[in-house]
C-alpha cells in the first residue's frame, strides 16, 4: 500500500473520536427524549468513518466503489422509506442478514489474502468472520422469511436435525483450524472457503428454522448481536480499528438486549443457544397433557374469581400466584373443581342475551357452548345444575367498567387496529373509565413492537405498562380487552408441560372477571398451543374477525 495522506496517529485518533461518537450515539438512543439525536449522531459518525477510510486507504479513485455505494444507498433508502411499521420485524431481520453477508465477504477476501496478511492471526479471524457472517446471513434470511410468511411459521424439526447441526459445527471448526494452521497452500484455500460457507449456511439455517413462538424476537436480537460480532472479527482480520470498535460495541450491547429479553420471558440465553427454543417435546408430551388439561382448565379459570370471593386475604395470595403460578394451580385444582362446573351453564345464558355481536361471533358462541358442554359432561359433578345466571349485555359491562386493561398482540399489528384501539380507549375514558395497556415483553414479533404501534396511534407512553407492573391488576380490573394477542396471555403456559410457551410468564388475563377478545379466529397462536380462555365458561366475549372491523362495530355500538 502506498503511504497514507496523513500519519497513522492522526488516523487512529480520528477513529477513536468516531468510536466515542458512536458510543455516545447508542447511549443517547437508550433515552427516550434524546434518541432521534442519538441515531443521527451515529449515522453521521458512520458517514465520516466511510470518508475517513476512503482517504486513509487512498482508494477514493476506485470508481467501482462509488457505483456500489450508490446502488446500496438508493436501495436502502427506498426500503427504509417504503417499509410499513408492521413489517418492521422482518425488515430488521433482513437488513441484519445483509450486514452479516457483507462481513462474510470481507472475511472471505481476507482469507484469500486480500486486504490482510496471511498470518495465523488474520487467517483465524477471517475464517471466523466468514463463518459468523454467513450464519448470520442465512439465519436472518430464514427468520425474515418466517416473519414474512414465505416460510412456515411453526418451528420445523426433522429427523437428524441435531446430527446435521453438529456436523455443520464440526465442519466450521475444522475449516477454521486448518486455515489457522496455515498448512494449506493459498491455491487450495478455495476449498476451505467453500466448505466454511456451506457449513455455516447450513448451521444458520438449521438454527433459525426450528425457532417458533416467543423465541423469535430473541432470535432476531441475537442475530443482530451476531452481525456486530461478525463485523468486529472481520475488522480484526483486516486490521481496521473502527470496524473492531463499533462491531464490538454493537455485538455486546446486542447481547445485553437479548439477555434483557430473555429475562423478561424467563428463559436462559444458553438454553436458546443449545436449541431448547423449540417444542421438541411438544408433539409427544403435549398430546398427553391435552387430555388432562381440558379438565384442569375448568378449575384453573374459576380460581381467580373464587379467591376473590373469599375476600382480601386470598387476593394477596392471588397476586402471589402470578409470580409462582404453577404451585398454586396444582394446589387449588381439586378444591375448586366443583365450584367451576356449577358455573359452566352460564354460557348458554350469554348466547341467548340480545347482543350486538357479529354473525361470526354468534356462530362462535355456539361452538363455545358445544365445547363447554363437553367439558361439563366430562367433569363428575354435572348434576349440580344451578339456575342460569342472567349474563349482562357486554356493552353494559364496558360502560359500567371502572378500570379496563387493554392487551395488544401481533394480531393488532396485522389488522392495523391500533387506531381503533385508541378510539375505543378514548370512548371509555370519556365515560370515566381508567384505561391501561398491558405490554408483554414479547408481544408481537419483535421487542417493543406493540409500543411502537401504539405510539403511532397517539397512545400516551405513560399508559403503557410492562407485564411485571400491571399483572396484579388484572384481578381487580373490570374488563380486559385482548386485541390480537394469544400466546402472551395463554394460561396454558403455566401447566402445559413441554409446549414452547411452558414456563413463560404470561399476562394474568384469566384472573379478570370479564374478557373481551378481538382475535381473528380461535386457532392457536404463533406457538401452536390452544388457548383455554376461548372456551372459558363465563365472562369471555369473543369478537372474531378482523380486529379493526370488530372494534369499529363495538365503538359504533358504544
Amino acid at each position: 500500500m502506498t503511504t497514507p495522506l496523513f500519519s497513522s496517529y492522526i488516523y487512529y485518533s480520528l477513529c477513536s473520536i468516531l468510536s466515542i461518537g458512536i458510543l455516545f450515539g447508542i447511549y443517547l438512543m437508550s433515552k427516550v427524549n434524546k434518541s432521534v439525536l442519538g441515531n443521527r449522531l451515529s449515522a453521521t459518525c458512520m458517514l465520516l468513518g466511510i470518508i475517513l477510510t476512503l482517504i486513509y486507504n487512498q482508494i477514493f479513485p476506485v470508481w467501482v466503489l462509488y457505483i456500489a455505494i450508490a446502488i446500496g444507498a438508493i436501495l436502502g433508502a427506498i426500503l427504509g422509506i417504503r417499509v410499513k411499521m408492521i413489517q418492521m420485524p422482518q425488515t430488521v431481520a433482513l437488513l441484519n442478514g445483509l450486514g452479516g453477508g457483507a462481513s462474510a465477504i470481507v472475511g472471505g477476501f481476507a482469507l484469500l489474502g486480500i486486504g490482510a496478511i496471511t498470518a495465523p492471526f488474520s487467517l483465524t479471524t477471517s475464517a471466523l468472520a466468514l463463518a459468523v457472517g454467513t450464519l448470520t446471513l442465512f439465519g436472518s434470511l430464514v427468520a425474515a422469511g418466517k416473519l414474512h410468511k414465505i416460510l412456515p411459521q411453526k418451528s420445523i424439526i426433522f429427523k437428524g436435525q441435531q446430527a446435521l447441526t453438529i456436523v455443520s459445527l464440526v465442519l466450521i471448526a475444522t475449516t477454521i483450524v486448518i486455515a489457522a494452521l496455515g498448512i494449506i497452500p493459498t491455491s487450495l484455500m478455495w476449498l476451505i472457503l467453500v466448505t466454511n460457507i456451506l457449513a455455516s449456511a447450513s448451521f444458520g439455517t438449521l438454527f433459525s428454522i426450528r425457532v417458533g413462538g416467543a423465541d423469535m424476537p430473541i432470535t432476531i436480537s441475537l442475530l443482530n448481536s451476531l452481525s456486530g460480532v461478525a463485523g468486529a472479527i472481520a475488522g480484526l482480520a483486516i486490521s481496521d480499528l473502527l470496524l473492531v470498535a463499533v462491531g464490538g460495541i454493537v455485538g455486546a450491547s446486542g447481547l445485553l438486549l437479548t439477555q434483557v429479553m430473555c429475562k423478561a420471558i424467563n428463559r436462559k440465553l444458553f438454553d436458546i443457544l443449545l436449541g431448547k427454543t423449540s417444542c421438541k417435546m411438544s408433539q409427544t408430551k403435549f398430546a398427553s397433557t391435552k387430555n388432562s388439561k381440558s379438565q384442569n382448565i375448568t378449575a384453573s379459570h374459576s380460581e381467580c374469581a373464587a379467591s376473590k370471593a373469599e375476600e382480601t386475604d386470598l387476593q394477596f395470595e392471588n397476586a402471589k400466584s402470578n409470580n409462582a403460578p404453577t404451585d398454586l394451580l396444582t394446589k387449588n385444582t381439586n378444591s375448586k373443581k366443583i365450584e367451576s362446573s356449577s358455573k359452566s351453564e352460564s354460557t348458554s345464558a350469554k348466547t341467548e342475551s340480545p347482543s350486538v355481536k357479529t354473525e361470526s361471533t354468534m356462530a362462535m358462541n355456539e361452538n363455545t357452548l358445544a365445547i363447554t358442554e363437553n367439558i361439563a359432561n366430562k367433569s363428575e359433578s354435572t348434576s349440580t345444575k344451578t339456575e342460569k345466571e342472567k349474563t349482562e349485555n357486554p356493552l353494559d359491562i364496558l360502560k359500567k367498567a371502572k378500570s379496563v386493561i387493554i392487551v395488544p398482540g401481533y394480531g393488532m399489528a396485522i389488522a392495523q387496529a391500533q387506531h381503533q384501539v385508541k378510539r375505543l380507549a378514548d370512548k371509555l375514558i370519556e365515560n370515566g373509565t381508567i384505561v391501561k395497556y398491558a405490554i408483554h415483553p414479547v408481544a408481537g414479533r419483535m421487542p417493543g413492537h406493540m409500543n411502537v404501534l401504539l405510539c403511532e396511534a397517539n397512545v400516551e407512553y405513560e399508559d403503557l405498562y410492562e407485564m411485571k407492573d400491571i399483572n396484579n391488576e388484572f384481578a381487580t380490573a373490570d374488563v380486559a380487552i385482548v386485541v390480537g394477542a394469544n400466546d402472551v396471555l395463554n394460561p396454558a403456559a403455566r401447566e402445559a408441560v413441554g409446549t414452547p410457551i411452558y414456563g413463560m410468564p404470561v399476562l394474568s388475563v384469566d384472573c379478570c372477571k370479564n374478557i373481551f377478545i378481538f382475535n381473528y379466529d380461535t386457532k392457536p397462536g404463533y406457538a401452536g398451543v390452544d388457548n383455554p380462555l376461548y372456551t372459558r365458561k363465563e365472562g369471555t366475549y369473543l369478537y372474531l374477525g378482523n380486529a379493526s372491523e370488530t372494534l369499529e362495530k363495538l365503538i359504533g355500538a358504544l
Binding site: I26, N57, I81, G99, S103, I105, G228, S253, C455, E460
Partner: protein, 102 residues
C-alpha cells in the same frame, strides 16, 4: 501476532465491555428502535468491504472482485442506509408522541 493486532484485540475487548454496560435500563419502548439502530451500525463492515474491494480491484481479477466486492458494499450499504432511515422514522414517531407529555 503483531503489536497492531494486539491493540486491535484490546480495543475489541474494551469495546465489548463498554457496549455491554452502555444500554442498561432501556425502556422497552425503545427496544425496537435500539435494535434496529444497532443493526444499522453493524453495517460498519462497509469500511472493510470498501478497503478489501479496492485492493482486490487493483491487484487481482478486477471483474470478479468488482462483482463480489461490489456485492459486499451494496449489501452493507443497504444495511446502513435502510437501518438508519427506518430507525429515524420509528424514533421520530415515538418521540413526537411519547415526549409530548414530558
Amino acid at each position: 501476532m503483531t503489536l497492531i493486532q494486539g491493540i486491535l484485540l484490546g480495543v475489541f475487548i474494551v469495546a465489548t465491555i463498554i457496549g455491554y454496560f452502555l444500554i442498561n435500563n432501556v425502556p422497552s419502548l425503545l427496544h425496537t428502535p435500539l435494535m434496529s439502530g444497532m443493526n444499522a451500525l453493524s453495517g460498519i463492515t462497509i469500511l472493510g468491504a470498501l478497503t478489501a474491494t479496492a485492493i482486490a480491484f487493483k491487484s487481482i481479477n478486477p471483474v470478479l472482485s468488482a462483482i463480489v466486492g461490489g456485492l459486499a458494499i451494496v449489501l452493507a450499504m443497504i444495511n446502513v442506509v435502510g437501518g438508519f432511515v427506518v430507525t429515524d422514522r420509528m424514533l421520530c414517531m415515538i418521540v413526537k408522541k411519547g415526549g409530548r407529555k414530558q
